[in-house]
Symmetry: C2
Subunit: 254 residues, 2 copies
């Protein structure tokens, strides 16, 4: 789909150029859409998942910042963590504004996200960098994909959070340099990148299987803008492909 | 010095009412003052110490957030951590703007501040809360004290960072409730508060002893607005007194 040049550019700005960028019609604003209790429940689920995703990303990045070899690198990862916390706050406040209990809304996603982070605790600084970059980019891809299926107000929020991603870019040059200096590092980090994507997909599938309302939003119920299971599969494929291109841009065969 | 009512108010807004609040004369702006290399070195030292103080506070608060009993409490401590990171960024950028290497400027303070945090790792959530509240307040007191001895530009920066403190206030009600529910918790936390202040003073004295330029700023050299050793002692006393009043307001005899 992309030329090699576009793939490098995609990797450079940390975002995937996907079909989801195509022009889409509005399904209405929050006031109109939320009259449907299924739609409302789906958005509460989605915001809860995103909010805990950001809060747990904050925690893990702050933890992984300890692996930094110097103060500048530590601060770069800490800066990402602070940005994730800011995203968390926006999502949390939106949940409260629409009358949902933010903590209750996040609760179903605590275990899957904690599991993801537990299974992918970086063993060293380079693994931490790759995880920060890949995690940031996958989150950005997912936000972009899901945004088109939302009412105008929720979409504006999701897009404004997404616009503030890309903090993982500092990792690219550092990982490339490390691989140039010691090529066999590349093999280890390529494996690591595959494991990150595998665990992310595995937890995402678990969530989709367990959360009816959220799955409905992704799959498309009667009241929700049409999306079928094939489309959900395609979405995961697009995100995986974007990941593959980014790993290649990092100098890693995925 | 304060009445009991004022002490409670002081504790409630997280700041100490000290002599340093008195009106003071300007010693000039940064361009004028920094012509003196001793003054310049002192400010670089001060900003380096404050910057690493904020970065290490970020790290420790993010770590201590893990002890939180629920998501709302975790987010409250994470919010403090994100605020400290923002302060770090302001101080870091100011160092770069005046031509100092931020990482080099922070380096002398890494060991004292890491030692402080190592010696005061909270054993549980309540100790973490008390540390967050006390640490935030001591930092605020110190900023306020030191601000009056600075050129206009550096003082503006220090005061703007300080104006954003007070995030530790959420801890007050929680600690009070815990003590009401189980009074003997109060004894343990009172000891803990004393230990926090003791370690803070011990590391501060170590820094003053080792850093000539910074000590000069506090003590007052020929080119620096006059402050003698007795005044430095008084400053530490004022900060300790403010701490004592705050601990009392928390329901803890210090």
């Amino acid at each position: 789909m992309d030329t090699h040049g576009e793939a490098a550019q995609t990797a450079a700005d940390g975002r995937a150029g996907t079909a989801a960028e195509a022009v889409h019609e509005s399904i209405g604003d929050w006031a109109a859409c939320s009259a449907d209790p299924h739609y409302r429940a789906a958005v509460v689920d989605l915001l809860g998942a995103l909010a805990y995703g950001e809060l747990s990303a904050f925690e893990r990045l702050a933890e992984d910042a300890k692996l930094a070899p110097n103060l500048a690198d530590k601060a770069a990862l800490a800066e990402m963590a602070a940005a994730e916390f800011h995203h968390y706050r926006l999502l949390h406040d939106r949940l409260a504004a629409i009358g949902a209990d933010p903590d209750e809304s996040m609760q179903p996603f605590v275990e899957p996200l904690d599991s993801f982070h537990r299974m992918t605790a970086p063993a060293d600084w380079l693994e931490g960098l790759v995880k920060a970059f890949v995690g940031d980019a996958i989150a950005s891809d997912f936000y972009r994909e899901v945004a088109v299926r939302l009412d105008d107000d929720t979409r504006d929020l999701v897009l404004s959070v997404m616009a503030d991603t890309g903090h993982g870019q500092f990792a690219v040059a550092k990982v490339r340099t490390a691989i140039e200096q010691e090529p066999r590092v590349g093999g280890r980090l390529a494996l690591w990148g595959r494991r990150l994507m595998g665990e992310a997909l595995s937890q995402a599938q678990r969530v989709v299987a367990e959360r009816d309302a959220l799955s409905n939003l992704l799959i498309g119920g009667a009241e929700v803008r049409g999306f079928d299971l094939v489309e959900v599969g395609k979405m995961f494929n697009r995100i995986t492909e974007a990941h593959t291109r980014r790993m290649a841009a990092l100098g890693l065969a995925s």
